[in-house]
Amino acid sequence: MDGYINEVVNDKINAIKNKNNVYELGRVLQIHDYILEVSGLENAAFFERVFIGNKAEGYINRIGRKSLTVVLVKKSSPVFVGDEVAASGEMFCAYYSANSIGHIVDIFAEDKLCNQFFSGREKINIETPPLPIMDRTRVHRPLYTGISSIDLLYPIGRGQRQLIIGDKKTGKTQIALDTIVNQRGEDVLCIYIAIGKSKKEVKEVYSELFRYGAMEYTIILAAFQDECAPVLLNTPQAGISIAEKYMLQGRDVLVIIDDLKKHADNYREISLLSGKAPGRDAYPSDIFFTHASMLEKGCQHKNGGSITILPIVEIKNGDITDYISTNIISITDGQIVLSAKNYERGQKPATDFGLSVSRLGGAVQTADLRKLGSIVRRELLFYLETSVVFELANMDGMGNELRDKMSRGKEILARMNQYRFEARTPQEVVKLFEELAEMRQ
């Protein structure tokens, strides 16, 4: 039996070899949007870059027994069945140029504003091996956002992954922008990764950052919804790989991913189109791993560099318990939850104090912020919880102590209000809340 199979296989191989050089050339068999079924290319490697004439570019996503699957990342004119597919002999990768700092670019290092490639392009591996556990050290240096509810209550440290989650139009991107602007003079390279955002939105982000002088140290890495879906899938990974390159040189990098829900939806699309079995909510089974392997690159490296990641997730009706959200919450080191209800009440930023968490907490704060933060947080949470239970109860029926606590809580909440691009320094935050904490003693 074995001998017979070998014979059949060898005959077949020889027949193909003699006909034409299919080891390096293949032909398109089927086309499903940006996913191609290709015959031939017997010598191609998994994830190798391929070209379909000068019409399209893609990479090999599956090597089957009889044919292989190619997903396209670029398509300039229609691809037809029977078109020739050529292997390039190199792995698919992203490109990056140090000159792209200050610009809107894509993963091919093309300037999206003038559609030209940057000079000095270098290859960036999209998939890099996980960072060894022993190369990490404790996250302890603060990264100030300039927003008092974050810096005081749910602080972010360099190397931390902090999720920003909330409904549409609750100010998620704004928190990211405030944070980038606040890095001025801090020697932090910022990478804003836009996935599936409209071109208008990305241009607005660019002009805001430009206006506040933040583009000098920021790269906007964008993949728009009208590009091939595999580009959207690979863009955040490529962005993190760029950050990793800088971190390994000892630099601090801040990465914003706006947003991961769109990324998950794109991956679902590709996965279902390629005929993979759907898992929970029809997402591919490895959706958690896809996000985890990416966000796990965020860390404080022992060489002194760090990657701080602020992924953004959009939810519906304030429900943070859906599949993708809980997945990401269980990866990140905490979350800032924004509530539409608070937003409508005029609370800016619309932080939901009960649901927001920082798992690193005081470890990334200075001693005075840490001490003040734990008091203020306790007081505020007590006020919010109690005011719900006693919503309609008569305040006079409360003891004096309780009444004082309630009015203090109300004042804390009021002082958390802060408008966009009105950064407060840590000293200002301490000053603002210190007297409230003192009133307690």
Binding site: I5, A45, F46, S285, F288, R378, L381
Partner: protein, 451 residues
Amino acid sequence: MRLGKIISVSNLRVDILLENRKIDIRNIVYAERDGRRDYFEVAQIDGSIALAIPFGSVNGLKKGLDVYLHEGGLQMEYSDRILGRVFNAFGGPIDGLTLQSSCTKNIYNKSLTLSEIEIAGDILHTGIKALDFFAPMQKGFKMGLLGGAGVGKTVLIKELINNVYKGFGSNSVFIGIGERSREGKELYDEMLESNLLDKLAIAFGQMGESPMARSRVVYSGLTLAEYLRDEKKQDVLLFIDNMYRMIQSNSEISAELGHMLVDNGYSTTLLSDVSEVEERINSTENGSVTSFQAIYIPADDLADAAVNALLSHLDGQVVLDRKIAEKGLYPAIDVFHTKSRLVTPEKIGKRHYGLVNEVIRYLAQYQELEKIVAVLGIEDLSEENYNIFYRSRKLRNYFTQPMFVTEQFTGLAGQFVEISAVLDDVEAILSGKYDAEDESTFSYVGAINHG
């Protein structure tokens, strides 16, 4: 020994055309290219084609590469040299130190027979009020710590390591499955700094690693625990964070093998996978294995098939709830779902048993009253309900506790509380002794000391 050639490659699966059929499921094979080896585990054999799961990335693999057998399969160190060390899922040390191996063992050990299993054990205190009160433990127990994302499972596991491992004086094993690498490194650093590492063996397959690593690390870790139990004849503490991630990685693998997925995408072999692992975690006459297993609840769905598959093996469960965490009450324990096989009048005594029932009755009533008070105010409550309302709030606050491992976050010193003090305090609150006290004085304290 050459086995055959690769004939297809996808993300998590490599098909091998066999020339030599002397191969079994769970054999380890490898291919060589550019001087490095890619390892695979055989998962399925269809006639002359073997389906194998890669240990790492498949980028760059080609059709036609030769595949060889890795003799011995997956091996884990099986000697005293495991103590103080950190291993990956495949048995290699990852703490940067060298390992002079003296004896190794295949990680796929058989489970215990009925006659080998020992079920008796002494009561074990954790010093955490809510755990000792609602879900008391004994040696040899399997305690599940369940919760959705970000409600405090990992903090609880770390507090248990702090309270139980430090007081236990015996060797322990920590298995990190699919959790944050940052936390893994912090655990290592903390143990090293407080000179506790020499009694601990660690195995990590964290969330950034391949599905194969996350799926198999539990077997590697159990081999460590079995060495301590069977060869050193010790009582072993086993901490697993997080069991759910093993099932999750199995479903990633299963989907790629083309198996029919069940119930929210879990692998077809969900129940047998869980049994295979859980049946190895048991006590024998040589020594006991007491395990704390964190279990993630996906999408806050307590009815999830994977969670329930695990629960059927446990002796007790502590459920953490988002609604309670939202109110700033930590540990955020949902008392209605937290239970232990030990809560019977024979095992913990009539007094403790009676108090547990009474507290649950109060808190159940409180939930109803909370809705009434929000609408009608407190004045309209009967005297009995008025007392239940305020005493329940005190009880609720009393079961919060400052933890040793969160001192830097809360600014409060950790507290270890004896169960006798908890019973006295609960009895006093229920009897109305503290009715005049402000409820906030019960929050984040150890035992009550009101003179």
